[in-house]
Symmetry: C2
Subunit: 225 residues, 2 copies
């Protein structure tokens, strides 16, 4: 398995340049550049997390996911492998990306636009909380895998390191507001805090939310308590 | 052409019942029920407005749009007729609904999800302000019609009667906030006011915005200055 790139993320470079510039100019550092880490907002397109057992059922005995693109969170990747999702009304979504590494539960994360296209209703849940959620069938080159549950819309959430939790004055499982500027300005008012020493500060929204606010790399964003 | 239904809209009935109940109970009428008119929020799926000339090119000489479903704004309807939209990269959207009656410009209103599927970029514009916007080809049973411009994402907006304008203390072309509650709570912070004596109080959002906030008939909504 290839290693993640050691190049810093664009958001980190911008953040450091901004801080240094304000300091050199002798100006007060604005709130956005004052936190311990840059605020990164990323749009998650539909995807799934699978167990090793599911990967082997779909891709063959002993198969291991291959990283195609490393994500912002350490060690997480979009895999080369994708699956076909077959919904309860036999409608399909092709090329559903698998995110690795494997987890201990199977979970499909869709936007409402996707679930409407598939013709069924899915609940908004925190990742991992899949009890009582609808299931689906997955199809891969080596076979099928039935998920009895696990199809959700992931609640918008923010990954936070303990340094970020302290700076923003929040706790794990709190809700925060993400304020997005620009021509389609909106505020997401229930962004769930997920704190861990393994996390880097990053807000995850889905494609419905990303398209509603027309999020671009230069769109102004603010995270508020 | 058949006439619009004279039955009151569900929102109007609920609004009246709510007001009367509070009055009977001797309780103060809450803000939501205190305005001169009920607040109705509707999601507009992708659609187009056409000139009579375009309708005849697509459906044949002398063809008139037939109402399939009357909309909340007086005299406006979803037509029986729909067209196929061919985008700049030859990708298509079938069954694009036409809204009637005919107007003096041609305009296609898509969500960003739609424009991404078609593979091109569209601007956010107020209805009617289509200068410099991309065009598309439309296909109907009687022929093609080329639109040199007019493909937009409509900015979220609120139709207001002068009574509503007075109650909310705003003016035509102002921006308001629409606060949506529930599990996907969000605020749309640039909702354009469109005032006319012919309008009934109604917020129009698109499917990206509607899916982002998971709008249901019982989702709490508030319109704020």
């Amino acid at each position: 398995m290839s290693q993640p790139s050691t190049l810093p993320h664009r958001a980190q470079v911008e953040y450091l340049v901004r801080r240094v510039l304000y300091e050199r100019l002798g100006k007060p550092v604005p709130r956005l550049a004052a936190g311990p880490n840059p605020l990164v907002v990323n749009v998650s397109a539909r995807h799934c997390h699978l167990t090793q057992e599911a990967v082997e059922a779909l891709f063959g005995k002993g198969h291991e996911l291959r990283p195609m693109k490393w994500l912002y969170q350490e060690g997480q990747f979009a895999a080369v492998e994708s699956v076909t999702l077959i919904g309860p009304r036999s409608r399909v979504i092709s090329n559903l990306r698998i995110l690795g590494p494997c987890r201990d539960i199977n979970q499909v994360e869709l936007a409402f636009t996707d679930s409407i296209a598939l013709g069924f209703q899915i609940p908004v849940r925190q990742s991992g909380n899949i009890e009582g959620t609808p299931g689906c069938m997955l199809m891969g080159p080596a076979g099928f895998y039935e998920m009895p549950d696990g199809v959700i819309r992931a609640a918008p959430h923010v990954h936070m390191h303990p340094d970020d939790v302290a700076y923003y004055g929040v706790a794990d499982k709190d809700f925060m507001r993400l304020q997005v500027g620009g021509p389609c300005a909106l505020s997401l008012n229930r962004v769930l805090v997920r704190a861990s020493k393994d996390f880097k500060l990053e807000v995850h929204i889905d494609t419905d939310e990303g398209n509603a606010c027309g999020l671009q790399p230069d769109t102004p964003v603010q995270l508020l308590k």
